[in-house]
């Protein structure tokens, strides 16, 4: 009988893993029903759902799914507590902060540059080149994107100019990191300084104190007729910017490329074990050069999104750390495109929330801007699963 139970166990319909995920989902639900538009004004159902989530988590822990189970317990606890706090606060404040369509729209806006940057970071690091220069590459794309759009009077050509500029900067970085086998972190830091100086210099030299003109051609929003009129997310998804869609499609393309094509396998092989890759005839140098240049082009698209789609102007150092949040998204998403998009969305959401929370506390809301960095610090500390970079990440390769 015992053997029968043992063999039957894996075939159970509900496995601990499912219970863990269900618990996490319930945690979200617990808080969700206390927020607009449901707006339950009594905490009792939320507390019950939160407890249910924690029970599911406990069961998952007992079943061996420790990490997921603890996640569910925490989700239940946070969700329940958040719901209690929400029922205590004024309806007016809640409706100011939690306007889902506006929150989703803002999340997408803030997540788009991070997604581009993170995709760039992934392709570079998967090939074994640490890319701490994402910030500089993004800034280059931001400036040259708007510079090109202004001079050539076309957002499309501007985007191309920005991407090309990002590629050139990445090529310079690649030459130092790959050819000269420079210390990649020192080299990346140098690229960040250079990008800051060069974009600032040309910006001031060309535009002076006036700044970029107001009538820059902007990347258009994509209006989707069917979805646009839906009540909940319709406003956000139906009118998202073209580049937001490009970023999301780009993530899918990169995921397919890395994990479903021979070329992607080669990139990963070069990042994990360059000597073995070289032995089977893959050119480590060429693969890394291409990956780093792609990385620069992608990061520059994120920067160009900022200048010619989101804001419509440029100011010195306008990326303001977004390249580093993108780097954080790479790590938080464990070097996978899907994970990076999820991380970018989470980080974008925290920024979106920081913009709306002043209804509750005018000063403390700004702390939400630090959330991506805190979460990444927790992630590298190994609390939320180990974040393991590609084995040869950051090591220069010397051909035998």
């Amino acid at each position: 009988l015992s053997t029968a139970v043992a063999t039957a166990a894996p075939r159970r319909a509900v496995q601990p893993r499912h219970a863990g995920w269900a618990g996490i989902a319930l945690g979200f639900v617990a808080w969700f029903i206390a927020l607009p538009p449901v707006l339950a004004r009594t905490p009792v159902p939320s507390i019950l759902i939160g407890l249910l989530a924690m029970t599911a988590g406990a069961w998952a822990i007992a079943g061996g799914e420790k990490r997921l189970g603890w996640g569910a317990v925490v989700a239940g606890l946070v969700g329940g507590a958040g719901a209690v706090a929400s029922t205590q606060s004024g309806v007016g404040n809640l409706q100011d902060v939690v306007t889902w369509s506006a929150l989703v729209a803002a999340t997408l806006r803030f997540a788009t540059p991070l997604t581009f940057g993170a995709l760039g970071g992934i392709i570079s690091e998967r090939s074994g080149v640490v890319n701490i220069a994402l910030e500089g590459m993004m800034l280059t794309g931001a400036f040259f994107g708007i510079f090109g759009a202004d001079l050539l009077d076309s957002w499309f050509l501007g985007l191309l100019v920005g991407m090309a500029a990002g590629g050139v900067v990445a090529l310079l970085y690649a030459f130092f990191a790959i050819q000269l086998r420079a210390d990649q972190i020192v080299g990346g830091t140098a690229i960040n300084f250079l990008a800051l100086g060069i974009t600032g210099y040309i910006f001031l030299d060309h535009y002076g104190d006036q700044g970029t003109p107001d009538n820059i051609p902007r990347v258009p929003d994509v209006s989707i007729p069917g979805i646009k009129n839906l009540s909940f997310f319709g406003d956000a998804i139906g009118k998202a910017n073209l580049l937001t869609w490009v970023a999301l499609v780009g993530a899918v393309v990169l995921a397919v490329f890395l994990f479903r094509t021979p070329q992607g396998l080669r990139v990963r092989a070069v990042g994990e074990h360059p000597r073995a890759a070289e032995t089977v005839g893959i050119s480590v140098m060429r693969t890394r050069y291409l990956s780093v240049v792609c990385s620069g082009v992608l990061a520059a698209m994120g920067g160009a999104y900022l200048s010619i789609a989101f804001v419509g102007s440029f100011n010195q150092g306008m990326t303001a750390g977004r390249g580093f949040i993108a780097l954080a998204a790479v790590i938080f998403g464990k070097w996978s495109p899907g994970g990076a998009v999820a991380a970018a969305m989470l980080f974008g959401f925290s920024t979106a929330l920081a913009q709306r929370l002043p209804a509750f506390s005018p000063s403390a809301a700004v702390l939400f801007q630090a959330l991506p960095y805190v979460l990444t610090l927790i992630a590298v500390a190994g609390v939320i699963g180990r974040s393991r970079p590609p084995a040869a990440d950051g090591q220069p390769y010397i051909k035998e």
């Binding site: 000269l180 210390d183 020192v186 100086g197 001031l204 030299d205 000597r275 580093f324 403390a364 035998e400």
Partner: protein, 425 residues
Amino acid sequence: VSDPDLEPQAGAALAGEPGPEVAAMTPAARLAGYVRGGGIVVPVLTTLLAFFVGGLVILVTGHNPLSTYKAIFNGTGLNWFFPWTSSDDRTTAALNLQQTLIITTPLILVGLAVAFAFRAGLFNIGGEGQYLVGSYFAVWVGSSFSGMPKLLHIVVAIVAAALAGAVWAGIAGLLKATVGAHEVISTIMLNWIAVWVGIYLFGLNGPLQNSDPQQQSVPVSSDVVSSAKLPVFWGDPELQGLHVGLFIALAAVLVFWVLVNRSKIGYEVRAVGLNPEAARYGGISVARNYVLVMAVCGVFAGIAGSLDVLGWEFHIATNDIQLASASGLGFIGIAVALLGRNTAGGTLAAALLFGALLSGTSQRNLDPTIFEPELASNLTLIIQGLVVLIVSADVIVLTMLRRGRGLFRRRRPAAPAPAQEAEAA
């Protein structure tokens, strides 16, 4: 300025055949090779090359590089030392030189903060965050406790800043020691957390925003009270004269030198930096050293923040924090340490160079009729970036120079390697 005390095995990998072990070397080992390799010649060449490329940028954008560099030089006030400077010019030069040394003071310290970590094989990219956290504590202590005696108040403020920096950097060291989290990632994250915490603290309605009823709409801290202000020993205190913090920075250089070259800690730190595995085998606790080293770095950077606040800034505005987040002194400290090759004297010299460059290109010191200060401050960033870029690759450049090989090995006839490689695999 080179460091003769390095272990002989430091450059062994560089001197021998470049095998895979070169790739796996720690940054400290690479830099140790650099110290052995070039003496003072390579940093000087690096600097000249960076200034030359910067001059090209000036030329391409339609300005005269020579007159621009001359104006920047006059802005640094270093012409004060020339005997032929006329007495009128000397007055201006003195004012400018005071500014140069005021900027050099924190640069020395953040340079040491980066350099000390490099000696242990760690890359402390978080000097900016440690500097900021230190300055927050200094401004908090300095603007409260107004009844305290002068010397005590200053000491308490500086010690609080040093401890805050140590704790902030120590987090990265602890994460490295316990779970192996890469210090570059954690210090970058800590930088930005420090930035946002500062914007929260001194922002509108923040807990440390100024208490002056006239300034309730200004996101700035309270002013440091007079008992916590560092005394000015050269120039007019009302016109931002030179404060005594310079001597604290110079003392820190001495402490750094003794710590690295003449102490047990320094020996262990260098051993860990050159080869953590060998150090562990030799009975040195690598984990303890990581925490210790980062804490010491944080002390240096934290003091830097306190000297700026107590010496001439006297308050912190959120605008300044935001500006510093991308190109603050903590980042210039990386260039200072790398150009100074992580030695005490080298860091001092490089700090003076970058301090001069910063003050020479500042709005206050540079003659705007010759070159716009805003452009010039970007020129500083370009030169700084070029210096770091050239330094990043110089280990290998030196190796190649010494061995007389070209960098583009693919153009050389391929050695009969495949068989050998198959065996190795």
